[in-house]
Symmetry: C2
Subunit: 141 residues, 2 copies
């Protein structure tokens, strides 16, 4: 039984923060074996869906700073999950692709996401999931 938080418990931003934290904790436990963070999985996912994507595109899609994106991509490259090659038509851009090991890791991650997402969605009725999705989108779009 959590401590009563009083008036702050009525603040939407406060509840969003606690909900986010709870999901992150579950994610971290769930992905401990794969040793992947939310951000890393997101980058693997987007790179899988859009081979040749550049860091700037990732940054925009995931609403991150370029430097933050750099750090995440660099780590995934060091682990041999992502390969980089200069883009022929624009030499400033570097095209990203998953390596064979990256595709394999993403396959496992995708299965883990499904069960993680199921845990989250099982807390709601189907209509509630759609409603929550719609409301959350309005905040970040």
């Amino acid at each position: 039984m959590p401590t009563d938080v009083g008036a702050i418990g009525e603040i939407l931003g406060f509840n969003l923060r606690l909900a986010h934290g709870a999901v992150v904790r579950h994610f971290t436990e769930h992905f401990a074996e794969l040793d992947l963070t939310q951000k890393q999985v997101s980058v693997l996912w987007l790179t899988h869906d859009q081979p040749g994507i550049a860091q700037t595109d990732l940054a925009q899609a995931l609403q991150m700073d370029r430097a933050t994106t750099m750090a995440i991509v660099h780590k995934l490259e060091a682990r041999g999950l992502i390969a980089r090659q200069p883009s022929p038509d624009d030499k400033r851009r570097i095209a990203l692709r998953l390596t064979v090991a990256g595709e394999e890791a993403f396959g496992k991650a995708r299965a883990a996401i499904e069960s993680h997402e199921k845990w989250l969605c099982d807390q709601f009725k189907p209509g509630e999931v759609a409603a929550l999705l719609k409301l959350l989108r309005r905040i970040h779009q």
Copy 2:
């Protein structure tokens, strides 16, 4: 116009993360002048509401680790916003209170929270705010 994120955009956890990030960014800009983070404001708020509260209580209410709580309280104490005194009935516990400066800072923070929260809630109809609050609570409770 954000980049199309594809299938990952249907994941509830993904949207929760982006929404949380957007709110944190707005909060940070909004509180730049006061130089306070979400966590720091939460601690000030709870300490204001419950004078004599201990770090363990804060940790439980804010769903944080004890060590994390320690770091936040310590920083607020160093800034002269929080005072600590050993609890008479349980010498392990340390009672926390806001100093005069702390009360003043919290007063300003409370006004800033109101306008920040208004920005957030203005993105929704009244019924939607209540619905979102209810759904988020279910995740972290």
